[in-house]
Symmetry: C2
Subunit: 235 residues, 2 copies
DNA sequence: ACCTGAACACCGTTCAAGT
DNA sequence: ACCTGAACACCGTTCAAGT
């Protein structure tokens, strides 16, 4: 777990105003996407920016405040589909799919964002726009107020869960030979004790690796259950 | 974030064999459930056990190894419903609901377990039994091999996401006055920009707080979408 | 105002030493 | 074999000091 010390070329004093909140957040996102959440350190962030560790504290009060700001910025990048009013349930359903896919994609593109967004509650105005859009579409799909609110929460829960599952799996695959060890263990399972599992090992592996395709399968299922079958429900 | 130092009453040397893996895991679960994942520290664990910090290392190679063992133990506590063969799709659906609810309940009872289980992949034999049971039920419900595997992944993703959502909300509620601040912000939203959201603020609050009931709503939706409507689909 | 290094209270873990 | 304290390389953050 311990990392070898960087060669500490003695840095000259940074000129004034090299730093500002935006530059800091840019660097934070780079660091998170490239090296992961556990490498997101005040010291690493400052090094990335070419300043002393404490310089960052002139612009943010704490690491937590930076994390919140990063989450906020990433949420603002969720693309809401350009739209006219949804004119039918089918329209609404399709646009709903699009918004959910955007949120899922955000997590796929910025895996470390997930940790920020799941650890801390979604504050911030950016999340608001996404939520409003989803609720409007659920209403347009014909749900009453109570059902729309419930459906929205269910969709977000499923989306977060799917994203988390994928991120976890991607990270696990980086570990040395874990994939092979898991495969070996699954191949060794006693078929009489675990008949269903042993029969479905290859299908499970495929489903685990299917990423967005797997997400959409569950999403379609959930939408069907919540707002009724879509126009092409014969799959 | 810094914690005031404990009064360090000088501890007398612990007799040999006071420690064993089981006692260590018991203490770890207590610590996690009571004080949360961020308070789960090798030093705190040792203190809880009344031994020096390094004593634990005679039984586990690292903190990571302890975390894995805790996750394993908690998964072994998931109650699988006693069952005969599922004799109809309706039977299978009902038993499936029961298994999913057990997994969800595990997370509700041991919120910090979620972090362990979502950070590291589910290794260990205990998870295997749960997975096998779910797959068997999905097959009994009439799904083919590919669809059963996909449905299982979707159900687990939704379950993990819902549990995470609830844990996050519970933790957020502990923060000082956060609830009121969020409520105030939602009340202040411009109704012309966010028409759907402003209209549904109370319904959303209810759905967020509904816990297991909200989980079941999405679960029913998902099951309906994945394996078809249940016997009492007229809700 | 903004950037700096030293210092403090934490953390997981290595190591040599006690029993 | 099992438990111990000192020590090391980290971490976030406080503080007084530079410019």
């Amino acid at each position: 777990m311990t990392v070898t010390q960087q060669a500490r070329t003695p840095r000259r004093r940074a000129p004034r105003n090299t730093l500002n909140p935006d530059r800091i957040l840019d660097a934070a996102v780079v660091l998170l996407d490239r090296d992961g959440a556990e490498a997101f350190t005040m010291r690493a962030l400052a090094a990335q920016l070419g300043v002393g560790t404490m310089a960052v504290y002139s612009h943010f009060r704490s690491k937590e405040e930076i994390s919140d700001a990063v989450a906020q910025r990433l949420l603002s990048e969720v693309e809401l589909p350009a739209m006219g009013e949804a004119e039918s349930t089918a329209d609404a359903r399709e646009q709903l799919r699009e918004v959910c896919r955007s949120v899922f994609r955000l997590f796929a593109d910025h895996p470390s964002a997930l940790q920020l967004l799941t650890t801390r509650p979604m504050r911030g105005d950016e999340a608001i726009a996404v939520i409003d859009r989803m609720l409007g579409l659920l209403r347009a799909a014909g749900l009453d107020r109570v059902d729309a609110a419930r459906a929205h929460v269910a969709l977000m829960q499923y989306t977060v869960g799917s994203a988390l599952w994928n991120v976890r799996r991607d990270r696990a695959l980086c570990e040395d030979g874990l994939r092979d060890r898991v495969r070996a263990r699954l191949a060794d399972l006693p078929a009489d004790r675990y008949p269903a599992l042993t029969e479905l090992v290859p299908e499970l592996a495929i489903a685990q690796d299917a990423g967005m395709a797997q997400y959409e399968l569950g999403l379609d299922g959930l939408l069907t259950g919540l707002i009724g079958p879509g126009p092409r429900s014969a799959r």
